[in-house]
Amino acid sequence: MTNASHNDVHKDDLHVSLRGATKVFRRADDGSEVHALGPVDLDLKRGEFFAVVGPSGCGKSTLLEVLAGLSTVTAGTVTFEGKPISGEVPDGVGVVFQEDACFPWMTVADNIAFGLRQAGAAEGEIRARVEGALALMGLNAFAASYPAQLSGGMRQRVCIARTLVLQPRLILLDEPFGALDQQTRLLMGEELLRLWRETGATIFLITHALDEAAMLADRIGVMSARPGRLLEIVETGWPETRDSTIVEKPEFGHVTARLWQWLRAESMKSVGRMDRP
Protein backbone atom coordinates (compact mmCIF):
# COMPACT_ATOMS: atom_id res chain seq x y z
CA MET A 1 0.00 0.00 0.00
CA THR A 2 1.06 3.52 -0.67
CA ASN A 3 0.76 4.93 2.78
CA ALA A 4 4.22 4.73 4.25
CA SER A 5 3.18 5.41 7.83
CA HIS A 6 1.28 2.14 7.81
CA ASN A 7 4.35 0.03 7.64
CA ASP A 8 6.32 2.13 10.08
CA VAL A 9 7.89 0.45 13.02
CA HIS A 10 5.75 2.14 15.66
CA LYS A 11 3.36 -0.73 15.93
CA ASP A 12 2.90 -0.11 19.59
CA ASP A 13 2.42 3.61 19.63
CA LEU A 14 -0.82 5.20 20.67
CA HIS A 15 -3.20 5.91 17.83
CA VAL A 16 -6.49 6.83 19.49
CA SER A 17 -7.15 7.74 23.06
CA LEU A 18 -10.34 8.39 25.01
CA ARG A 19 -10.31 9.85 28.52
CA GLY A 20 -13.55 10.06 30.44
CA ALA A 21 -15.42 10.35 27.15
CA THR A 22 -19.08 10.99 27.93
CA LYS A 23 -22.07 11.82 25.77
CA VAL A 24 -25.35 13.15 27.05
CA PHE A 25 -28.00 13.89 24.45
CA ARG A 26 -30.46 16.63 25.13
CA ARG A 27 -33.75 16.25 23.30
CA ALA A 28 -34.74 19.39 21.43
CA ASP A 29 -38.50 19.07 22.07
CA ASP A 30 -38.79 18.55 25.83
CA GLY A 31 -35.23 19.22 26.98
CA SER A 32 -34.95 15.80 28.63
CA GLU A 33 -31.50 14.24 28.77
CA VAL A 34 -30.30 10.84 27.62
CA HIS A 35 -27.01 9.70 29.06
CA ALA A 36 -25.88 7.54 26.13
CA LEU A 37 -22.20 6.96 26.76
CA GLY A 38 -19.43 6.86 29.26
CA PRO A 39 -17.32 7.81 30.93
CA VAL A 40 -15.09 5.68 28.71
CA ASP A 41 -11.30 5.37 28.90
CA LEU A 42 -9.75 3.57 25.96
CA ASP A 43 -6.42 3.47 24.17
CA LEU A 44 -6.07 1.96 20.71
CA LYS A 45 -2.58 1.09 19.55
CA ARG A 46 -1.62 1.87 16.00
CA GLY A 47 -2.49 -1.08 13.80
CA GLU A 48 -4.54 -2.99 16.31
CA PHE A 49 -7.86 -4.65 15.61
CA PHE A 50 -10.34 -3.70 18.30
CA ALA A 51 -13.90 -4.96 18.44
CA VAL A 52 -16.79 -3.77 20.57
CA VAL A 53 -19.76 -5.82 21.66
CA GLY A 54 -22.63 -4.71 23.83
CA PRO A 55 -26.39 -4.93 24.29
CA SER A 56 -28.51 -3.09 21.77
CA GLY A 57 -28.98 0.61 22.45
CA CYS A 58 -26.03 0.73 24.84
CA GLY A 59 -24.21 3.51 23.01
CA LYS A 60 -21.93 1.67 20.57
CA SER A 61 -22.80 3.87 17.61
CA THR A 62 -22.49 6.90 19.84
CA LEU A 63 -18.98 5.81 20.77
CA LEU A 64 -18.12 5.37 17.11
CA GLU A 65 -19.40 8.83 16.20
CA VAL A 66 -17.37 10.34 18.99
CA LEU A 67 -14.27 8.55 17.70
CA ALA A 68 -15.03 9.71 14.17
CA GLY A 69 -15.33 13.33 15.22
CA LEU A 70 -18.93 13.36 14.01
CA SER A 71 -20.22 13.93 17.49
CA THR A 72 -18.64 15.99 20.28
CA VAL A 73 -18.29 14.61 23.78
CA THR A 74 -20.10 16.42 26.55
CA ALA A 75 -17.23 15.58 28.91
CA GLY A 76 -13.76 14.08 28.53
CA THR A 77 -11.31 14.11 25.66
CA VAL A 78 -10.74 12.25 22.40
CA THR A 79 -7.33 12.25 20.71
CA PHE A 80 -6.37 10.89 17.32
CA GLU A 81 -2.68 10.73 16.38
CA GLY A 82 -1.88 13.05 19.24
CA LYS A 83 -4.36 15.77 18.31
CA PRO A 84 -7.66 16.36 20.05
CA ILE A 85 -10.75 15.71 17.92
CA SER A 86 -13.45 18.31 18.09
CA GLY A 87 -16.45 18.42 15.83
CA GLU A 88 -14.64 17.59 12.64
CA VAL A 89 -13.61 14.28 11.09
CA PRO A 90 -9.80 14.17 11.09
CA ASP A 91 -7.84 13.22 7.99
CA GLY A 92 -7.15 9.51 7.80
CA VAL A 93 -10.38 8.38 9.48
CA GLY A 94 -12.84 6.27 7.49
CA VAL A 95 -16.32 5.25 8.63
CA VAL A 96 -18.70 2.51 7.55
CA PHE A 97 -22.10 3.30 9.05
CA GLN A 98 -24.66 0.95 10.49
CA GLU A 99 -27.30 2.37 8.14
CA ASP A 100 -27.14 2.06 4.38
CA ALA A 101 -25.27 5.19 3.29
CA CYS A 102 -24.93 4.40 -0.44
CA PHE A 103 -26.00 7.24 -2.66
CA PRO A 104 -28.95 5.93 -4.71
CA TRP A 105 -28.42 8.46 -7.50
CA MET A 106 -24.96 7.11 -8.37
CA THR A 107 -23.80 3.84 -9.84
CA VAL A 108 -21.81 1.48 -7.64
CA ALA A 109 -18.54 2.55 -9.29
CA ASP A 110 -19.34 6.23 -8.85
CA ASN A 111 -20.27 5.66 -5.24
CA ILE A 112 -16.92 4.07 -4.59
CA ALA A 113 -15.04 6.75 -6.54
CA PHE A 114 -16.90 9.61 -4.90
CA GLY A 115 -14.57 10.30 -1.99
CA LEU A 116 -11.49 10.10 -4.18
CA ARG A 117 -13.00 12.49 -6.75
CA GLN A 118 -13.88 14.95 -4.02
CA ALA A 119 -10.36 14.73 -2.69
CA GLY A 120 -9.09 15.58 -6.18
CA ALA A 121 -7.27 12.34 -7.00
CA ALA A 122 -6.14 11.76 -10.61
CA GLU A 123 -8.63 9.92 -12.84
CA GLY A 124 -6.21 7.05 -13.57
CA GLU A 125 -5.50 6.55 -9.89
CA ILE A 126 -9.22 6.63 -9.13
CA ARG A 127 -9.97 3.99 -11.76
CA ALA A 128 -7.26 1.69 -10.49
CA ARG A 129 -8.32 1.96 -6.87
CA VAL A 130 -12.02 1.58 -7.65
CA GLU A 131 -11.34 -1.53 -9.69
CA GLY A 132 -9.31 -2.96 -6.86
CA ALA A 133 -12.07 -2.26 -4.36
CA LEU A 134 -14.74 -3.73 -6.65
CA ALA A 135 -12.73 -6.92 -7.00
CA LEU A 136 -12.03 -7.11 -3.28
CA MET A 137 -15.72 -6.80 -2.43
CA GLY A 138 -16.87 -9.12 -5.23
CA LEU A 139 -18.79 -6.34 -6.93
CA ASN A 140 -17.14 -6.44 -10.35
CA ALA A 141 -20.31 -7.40 -12.16
CA PHE A 142 -22.25 -4.58 -10.52
CA ALA A 143 -19.99 -1.60 -11.21
CA ALA A 144 -22.61 0.00 -13.46
CA SER A 145 -25.63 -0.95 -11.35
CA TYR A 146 -27.51 1.42 -9.12
CA PRO A 147 -27.80 0.62 -5.39
CA ALA A 148 -31.57 0.05 -5.71
CA GLN A 149 -30.74 -2.96 -7.89
CA LEU A 150 -28.57 -4.57 -5.19
CA SER A 151 -29.40 -6.51 -2.03
CA GLY A 152 -28.89 -4.92 1.37
CA GLY A 153 -25.72 -6.93 1.95
CA MET A 154 -24.26 -5.87 -1.37
CA ARG A 155 -25.05 -2.23 -0.67
CA GLN A 156 -23.19 -2.53 2.59
CA ARG A 157 -20.22 -3.90 0.66
CA VAL A 158 -20.36 -0.85 -1.58
CA CYS A 159 -20.16 1.30 1.54
CA ILE A 160 -17.17 -0.67 2.80
CA ALA A 161 -15.45 -0.32 -0.57
CA ARG A 162 -16.19 3.40 -0.59
CA THR A 163 -14.38 3.77 2.71
CA LEU A 164 -11.47 1.48 1.87
CA VAL A 165 -10.47 3.23 -1.36
CA LEU A 166 -9.63 6.30 0.71
CA GLN A 167 -7.01 4.21 2.55
CA PRO A 168 -7.81 5.45 6.04
CA ARG A 169 -5.36 4.90 8.88
CA LEU A 170 -8.24 4.40 11.30
CA ILE A 171 -11.25 2.47 10.04
CA LEU A 172 -14.43 2.60 12.09
CA LEU A 173 -17.05 0.00 11.20
CA ASP A 174 -20.54 -0.07 12.71
CA GLU A 175 -22.01 -3.57 12.33
CA PRO A 176 -20.88 -3.73 8.72
CA PHE A 177 -21.82 -7.37 8.21
CA GLY A 178 -25.17 -7.21 9.96
CA ALA A 179 -27.11 -7.65 6.70
CA LEU A 180 -25.03 -10.59 5.46
CA ASP A 181 -25.64 -14.29 5.84
CA GLN A 182 -23.33 -16.28 8.07
CA GLN A 183 -21.09 -17.73 5.31
CA THR A 184 -20.61 -14.41 3.56
CA ARG A 185 -19.93 -12.82 6.92
CA LEU A 186 -17.11 -15.22 7.66
CA LEU A 187 -15.58 -14.63 4.24
CA MET A 188 -15.94 -10.86 4.53
CA GLY A 189 -14.33 -11.15 7.93
CA GLU A 190 -11.36 -12.90 6.35
CA GLU A 191 -11.13 -10.18 3.72
CA LEU A 192 -11.17 -7.59 6.44
CA LEU A 193 -8.35 -9.39 8.23
CA ARG A 194 -6.31 -9.56 5.04
CA LEU A 195 -6.88 -5.90 4.41
CA TRP A 196 -5.95 -5.04 7.95
CA ARG A 197 -2.66 -6.96 7.61
CA GLU A 198 -1.86 -5.36 4.27
CA THR A 199 -2.64 -1.79 5.21
CA GLY A 200 -1.65 -1.81 8.84
CA ALA A 201 -4.68 0.35 9.57
CA THR A 202 -6.19 0.50 13.02
CA ILE A 203 -9.61 -1.08 13.01
CA PHE A 204 -12.47 -0.38 15.39
CA LEU A 205 -15.34 -2.77 14.71
CA ILE A 206 -18.76 -2.78 16.31
CA THR A 207 -20.61 -6.04 16.03
CA HIS A 208 -23.46 -7.86 17.70
CA ALA A 209 -22.00 -11.24 16.80
CA LEU A 210 -19.75 -12.54 19.56
CA ASP A 211 -18.11 -15.10 17.29
CA GLU A 212 -17.26 -12.43 14.78
CA ALA A 213 -15.62 -10.29 17.45
CA ALA A 214 -13.76 -13.31 18.82
CA MET A 215 -12.50 -14.37 15.41
CA LEU A 216 -11.35 -10.99 14.14
CA ALA A 217 -10.09 -8.85 16.98
CA ASP A 218 -6.91 -8.55 19.02
CA ARG A 219 -8.94 -7.13 21.85
CA ILE A 220 -12.67 -6.99 22.47
CA GLY A 221 -14.34 -4.33 24.56
CA VAL A 222 -17.54 -5.38 26.29
CA MET A 223 -19.94 -2.54 26.90
CA SER A 224 -22.52 -2.22 29.64
CA ALA A 225 -26.18 -1.42 29.10
CA ARG A 226 -26.84 2.30 28.59
CA PRO A 227 -25.08 4.50 29.55
CA GLY A 228 -22.41 2.52 27.74
CA ARG A 229 -19.19 1.96 29.65
CA LEU A 230 -16.42 -0.52 29.04
CA LEU A 231 -17.01 -3.37 31.48
CA GLU A 232 -14.07 -5.44 30.40
CA ILE A 233 -11.50 -5.78 27.66
CA VAL A 234 -10.88 -9.36 26.55
CA GLU A 235 -7.56 -10.11 24.84
CA THR A 236 -7.72 -12.89 22.28
CA GLY A 237 -3.98 -13.37 21.77
CA TRP A 238 -4.38 -14.52 18.17
CA PRO A 239 -1.41 -14.38 15.80
CA GLU A 240 -1.53 -11.66 13.16
CA THR A 241 -1.88 -14.21 10.35
CA ARG A 242 -5.23 -15.68 11.30
CA ASP A 243 -8.37 -16.56 9.42
CA SER A 244 -11.80 -18.03 10.04
CA THR A 245 -10.36 -21.49 10.80
CA ILE A 246 -9.48 -20.08 14.20
CA VAL A 247 -13.02 -20.98 15.26
CA GLU A 248 -11.90 -24.61 15.55
CA LYS A 249 -9.45 -23.85 18.33
CA PRO A 250 -10.49 -24.48 21.92
CA GLU A 251 -9.21 -20.97 22.83
CA PHE A 252 -11.86 -19.56 20.53
CA GLY A 253 -14.53 -21.20 22.63
CA HIS A 254 -12.94 -19.76 25.77
CA VAL A 255 -13.00 -16.23 24.33
CA THR A 256 -16.65 -16.36 23.25
CA ALA A 257 -17.59 -17.90 26.57
CA ARG A 258 -15.93 -15.05 28.43
CA LEU A 259 -17.67 -12.48 26.24
CA TRP A 260 -21.01 -14.11 26.89
CA GLN A 261 -20.38 -14.23 30.63
CA TRP A 262 -19.99 -10.48 30.65
CA LEU A 263 -22.77 -9.78 28.20
CA ARG A 264 -25.45 -12.04 29.56
CA ALA A 265 -26.37 -9.91 32.53
CA GLU A 266 -26.08 -6.69 30.56
CA SER A 267 -28.27 -7.94 27.74
CA MET A 268 -30.92 -8.94 30.24
CA LYS A 269 -30.89 -5.44 31.65
CA SER A 270 -31.28 -3.94 28.25
CA VAL A 271 -34.27 -6.07 27.37
CA GLY A 272 -35.84 -5.05 30.66
CA ARG A 273 -35.32 -8.21 32.73
CA MET A 274 -33.52 -8.44 36.02
CA ASP A 275 -30.80 -10.98 36.33
CA ARG A 276 -31.72 -13.57 38.93
CA PRO A 277 -29.28 -13.73 41.83
Partner: protein, 248 residues
Protein backbone atom coordinates in the same frame (compact mmCIF):
# COMPACT_ATOMS: atom_id res chain seq x y z
CA UNK B 1 -41.44 -3.36 -23.84
CA UNK B 2 -44.92 -4.43 -22.79
CA UNK B 3 -45.06 -1.80 -20.04
CA UNK B 4 -44.02 0.86 -22.57
CA UNK B 5 -46.91 -0.24 -24.76
CA UNK B 6 -49.27 -0.17 -21.78
CA UNK B 7 -48.12 3.36 -21.01
CA UNK B 8 -49.18 4.40 -24.51
CA UNK B 9 -52.56 2.67 -24.47
CA UNK B 10 -53.91 4.77 -21.57
CA UNK B 11 -53.37 8.19 -23.17
CA UNK B 12 -54.57 6.90 -26.56
CA UNK B 13 -57.84 5.65 -25.12
CA UNK B 14 -58.27 8.91 -23.24
CA UNK B 15 -57.61 10.89 -26.44
CA UNK B 16 -60.19 8.92 -28.40
CA UNK B 17 -62.78 9.28 -25.62
CA UNK B 18 -62.20 13.04 -25.47
CA UNK B 19 -62.52 13.46 -29.24
CA UNK B 20 -65.73 11.41 -29.35
CA UNK B 21 -67.19 13.44 -26.46
CA UNK B 22 -66.17 16.63 -28.21
CA UNK B 23 -67.83 15.56 -31.46
CA UNK B 24 -71.04 14.62 -29.66
CA UNK B 25 -71.14 17.92 -27.79
CA UNK B 26 -70.69 19.66 -31.10
CA UNK B 27 -73.65 17.78 -32.57
CA UNK B 28 -75.73 18.70 -29.55
CA UNK B 29 -74.85 22.40 -29.35
CA UNK B 30 -74.09 23.33 -32.92
CA UNK B 31 -72.09 25.95 -34.72
CA UNK B 32 -72.92 28.95 -32.55
CA UNK B 33 -70.58 28.06 -29.71
CA UNK B 34 -68.42 25.19 -30.96
CA UNK B 35 -66.51 23.68 -33.84
CA UNK B 36 -66.08 20.00 -34.52
CA UNK B 37 -62.67 18.35 -33.89
CA UNK B 38 -62.03 18.10 -37.60
CA UNK B 39 -62.96 21.76 -38.27
CA UNK B 40 -60.77 22.87 -35.38
CA UNK B 41 -57.86 20.85 -36.63
CA UNK B 42 -58.22 22.31 -40.13
CA UNK B 43 -58.50 25.85 -38.83
CA UNK B 44 -55.46 25.32 -36.59
CA UNK B 45 -53.45 24.29 -39.64
CA UNK B 46 -54.72 27.36 -41.46
CA UNK B 47 -53.78 29.57 -38.53
CA UNK B 48 -50.30 28.10 -38.37
CA UNK B 49 -49.87 28.82 -42.08
CA UNK B 50 -50.58 32.54 -41.58
CA UNK B 51 -47.41 34.60 -41.18
CA UNK B 52 -49.26 37.07 -38.96
CA UNK B 53 -49.95 34.31 -36.41
CA UNK B 54 -46.35 33.38 -35.72
CA UNK B 55 -45.23 36.51 -33.84
CA UNK B 56 -47.99 35.81 -31.31
CA UNK B 57 -46.92 32.22 -30.88
CA UNK B 58 -43.28 33.23 -30.51
CA UNK B 59 -44.20 35.95 -28.04
CA UNK B 60 -46.10 33.51 -25.83
CA UNK B 61 -43.38 30.87 -26.21
CA UNK B 62 -40.65 33.28 -25.13
CA UNK B 63 -42.65 34.64 -22.22
CA UNK B 64 -43.49 31.13 -21.08
CA UNK B 65 -39.88 29.93 -21.36
CA UNK B 66 -38.64 32.91 -19.38
CA UNK B 67 -41.34 32.48 -16.75
CA UNK B 68 -40.59 28.78 -16.43
CA UNK B 69 -36.85 29.38 -16.06
CA UNK B 70 -37.47 31.99 -13.37
CA UNK B 71 -40.01 29.78 -11.60
CA UNK B 72 -37.60 26.83 -11.57
CA UNK B 73 -34.53 28.76 -10.40
CA UNK B 74 -36.35 30.94 -7.91
CA UNK B 75 -38.32 28.00 -6.56
CA UNK B 76 -35.16 25.92 -6.24
CA UNK B 77 -33.21 28.69 -4.51
CA UNK B 78 -36.01 29.46 -2.06
CA UNK B 79 -36.63 25.77 -1.49
CA UNK B 80 -32.99 24.99 -0.72
CA UNK B 81 -32.69 28.00 1.55
CA UNK B 82 -35.83 27.26 3.51
CA UNK B 83 -35.29 23.51 3.49
CA UNK B 84 -31.76 23.71 4.87
CA UNK B 85 -32.41 26.52 7.35
CA UNK B 86 -34.85 25.22 9.89
CA UNK B 87 -35.77 28.58 11.38
CA UNK B 88 -36.25 30.31 8.02
CA UNK B 89 -38.30 27.35 6.83
CA UNK B 90 -40.62 27.43 9.84
CA UNK B 91 -41.22 31.14 9.35
CA UNK B 92 -41.64 31.35 5.59
CA UNK B 93 -43.20 28.04 4.59
CA UNK B 94 -46.69 28.97 5.90
CA UNK B 95 -46.46 32.21 3.92
CA UNK B 96 -45.68 30.26 0.75
CA UNK B 97 -48.60 27.93 1.36
CA UNK B 98 -50.88 30.93 1.88
CA UNK B 99 -49.63 32.44 -1.37
CA UNK B 100 -50.20 29.10 -3.08
CA UNK B 101 -53.84 28.98 -2.06
CA UNK B 102 -54.99 32.48 -2.95
CA UNK B 103 -56.10 33.20 -6.52
CA UNK B 104 -53.08 34.88 -8.05
CA UNK B 105 -55.35 37.12 -10.12
CA UNK B 106 -55.83 39.23 -7.03
CA UNK B 107 -52.14 40.10 -7.21
CA UNK B 108 -52.19 40.95 -10.89
CA UNK B 109 -52.93 44.67 -10.49
CA UNK B 110 -49.87 44.96 -8.27
CA UNK B 111 -47.72 43.17 -10.87
CA UNK B 112 -49.03 45.41 -13.61
CA UNK B 113 -48.19 48.47 -11.58
CA UNK B 114 -44.66 47.24 -10.91
CA UNK B 115 -43.89 45.74 -14.34
CA UNK B 116 -46.03 47.74 -16.74
CA UNK B 117 -48.16 46.38 -19.53
CA UNK B 118 -45.34 44.74 -21.50
CA UNK B 119 -43.87 41.28 -21.62
CA UNK B 120 -42.35 41.41 -18.13
CA UNK B 121 -45.73 41.54 -16.39
CA UNK B 122 -46.86 38.28 -17.91
CA UNK B 123 -43.50 36.65 -17.26
CA UNK B 124 -43.82 37.73 -13.65
CA UNK B 125 -47.37 36.45 -13.53
CA UNK B 126 -46.36 33.10 -15.01
CA UNK B 127 -43.40 32.74 -12.65
CA UNK B 128 -45.58 33.71 -9.69
CA UNK B 129 -47.77 30.70 -10.41
CA UNK B 130 -44.93 28.31 -11.04
CA UNK B 131 -42.28 28.98 -8.40
CA UNK B 132 -44.41 28.05 -5.39
CA UNK B 133 -44.82 24.33 -6.09
CA UNK B 134 -41.13 24.09 -6.99
CA UNK B 135 -40.22 25.79 -3.70
CA UNK B 136 -42.64 23.75 -1.57
CA UNK B 137 -41.55 20.44 -3.06
CA UNK B 138 -37.89 21.38 -2.71
CA UNK B 139 -38.33 22.33 0.96
CA UNK B 140 -39.90 18.97 1.70
CA UNK B 141 -37.38 17.05 -0.36
CA UNK B 142 -34.45 18.68 1.41
CA UNK B 143 -35.94 18.10 4.85
CA UNK B 144 -36.51 14.43 4.07
CA UNK B 145 -32.95 13.70 2.98
CA UNK B 146 -31.63 10.84 5.10
CA UNK B 147 -29.33 12.29 7.81
CA UNK B 148 -26.85 9.51 7.03
CA UNK B 149 -26.00 11.23 3.73
CA UNK B 150 -24.93 14.32 5.63
CA UNK B 151 -22.79 12.19 7.93
CA UNK B 152 -21.18 10.53 4.91
CA UNK B 153 -20.55 13.96 3.47
CA UNK B 154 -18.82 15.06 6.67
CA UNK B 155 -16.65 11.95 6.71
CA UNK B 156 -15.59 12.69 3.14
CA UNK B 157 -14.98 16.30 4.16
CA UNK B 158 -17.17 17.96 1.58
CA UNK B 159 -17.35 21.74 1.69
CA UNK B 160 -20.73 23.31 2.31
CA UNK B 161 -21.13 24.06 -1.36
CA UNK B 162 -20.06 20.55 -2.42
CA UNK B 163 -22.54 19.10 0.08
CA UNK B 164 -25.34 21.08 -1.53
CA UNK B 165 -24.40 20.37 -5.14
CA UNK B 166 -23.22 16.77 -4.75
CA UNK B 167 -25.51 15.47 -1.99
CA UNK B 168 -28.50 17.69 -1.26
CA UNK B 169 -29.40 18.46 -4.85
CA UNK B 170 -29.22 14.94 -6.30
CA UNK B 171 -30.80 13.39 -3.20
CA UNK B 172 -33.73 15.78 -3.47
CA UNK B 173 -33.87 15.70 -7.28
CA UNK B 174 -36.84 13.35 -7.79
CA UNK B 175 -39.07 15.41 -5.52
CA UNK B 176 -37.79 18.68 -6.95
CA UNK B 177 -38.67 17.38 -10.38
CA UNK B 178 -42.21 16.60 -9.26
CA UNK B 179 -42.48 20.21 -8.11
CA UNK B 180 -41.15 21.34 -11.46
CA UNK B 181 -43.69 19.22 -13.29
CA UNK B 182 -46.54 20.86 -11.40
CA UNK B 183 -44.85 24.23 -11.74
CA UNK B 184 -44.74 23.74 -15.50
CA UNK B 185 -48.52 23.51 -15.82
CA UNK B 186 -49.15 26.38 -13.43
CA UNK B 187 -46.59 28.62 -15.17
CA UNK B 188 -48.32 27.99 -18.45
CA UNK B 189 -51.69 28.89 -17.01
CA UNK B 190 -50.21 32.00 -15.43
CA UNK B 191 -48.49 33.18 -18.60
CA UNK B 192 -51.56 32.81 -20.80
CA UNK B 193 -53.77 34.38 -18.14
CA UNK B 194 -51.34 37.27 -17.93
CA UNK B 195 -51.62 37.77 -21.67
CA UNK B 196 -55.39 37.68 -21.54
CA UNK B 197 -55.73 40.49 -19.07
CA UNK B 198 -53.20 43.00 -20.21
CA UNK B 199 -51.22 42.46 -23.35
CA UNK B 200 -51.14 43.47 -26.99
CA UNK B 201 -49.53 40.30 -28.27
CA UNK B 202 -49.45 36.59 -27.65
CA UNK B 203 -51.90 33.67 -27.71
CA UNK B 204 -53.70 34.91 -24.61
CA UNK B 205 -54.27 38.25 -26.30
CA UNK B 206 -55.58 36.55 -29.48
CA UNK B 207 -57.86 34.43 -27.35
CA UNK B 208 -59.27 37.43 -25.48
CA UNK B 209 -59.68 39.31 -28.74
CA UNK B 210 -61.49 36.38 -30.33
CA UNK B 211 -63.82 36.15 -27.35
CA UNK B 212 -64.66 39.82 -27.84
CA UNK B 213 -65.34 39.28 -31.54
CA UNK B 214 -67.04 35.95 -30.95
CA UNK B 215 -64.63 34.26 -33.34
CA UNK B 216 -65.24 30.65 -32.38
CA UNK B 217 -62.72 29.31 -34.91
CA UNK B 218 -59.79 31.09 -33.29
CA UNK B 219 -60.93 30.33 -29.76
CA UNK B 220 -61.18 26.62 -30.51
CA UNK B 221 -57.93 26.44 -32.46
CA UNK B 222 -55.80 28.20 -29.86
CA UNK B 223 -57.34 26.20 -27.04
CA UNK B 224 -56.56 23.01 -28.93
CA UNK B 225 -52.93 24.05 -29.45
CA UNK B 226 -52.48 24.91 -25.78
CA UNK B 227 -54.08 21.68 -24.61
CA UNK B 228 -52.09 19.49 -26.97
CA UNK B 229 -48.81 21.19 -26.03
CA UNK B 230 -49.54 20.91 -22.29
CA UNK B 231 -50.61 17.28 -22.60
CA UNK B 232 -47.54 16.20 -24.54
CA UNK B 233 -45.01 17.96 -22.31
CA UNK B 234 -46.77 16.90 -19.11
CA UNK B 235 -46.75 13.25 -20.14
CA UNK B 236 -43.06 13.48 -20.99
CA UNK B 237 -42.34 15.12 -17.62
CA UNK B 238 -44.39 12.48 -15.83
CA UNK B 239 -42.42 9.72 -17.53
CA UNK B 240 -39.11 11.30 -16.44
CA UNK B 241 -40.53 11.86 -12.97
CA UNK B 242 -41.35 8.15 -12.61
CA UNK B 243 -37.91 7.14 -13.81
CA UNK B 244 -36.22 9.44 -11.32
CA UNK B 245 -38.25 8.07 -8.45
CA UNK B 246 -37.52 4.48 -9.32
CA UNK B 247 -33.92 4.59 -8.14
CA UNK B 248 -34.77 5.81 -4.68
Amino acid sequence: MSTARLNLIGPLVLGVVLIVAWQMTYWAIGDIALRSPWQTLRFSAELLARPSFWPHLVETGKAFAAALAIAALLGLAIGLLLGLGKLAGDVFEPMLIALYSIPKVTLYPILLLSFGLGVSAKIAFGALHGFIPVALFTINAVRNIKPIYFKASRVMKLSRWATISKIVFPAAMPEIFTGFRIGFSLTMIGTVLGEMFASQRGLGYLLMNAIGLHNVDIIMAITLMLVVFAAIVSSALLAIDRRLHKRF
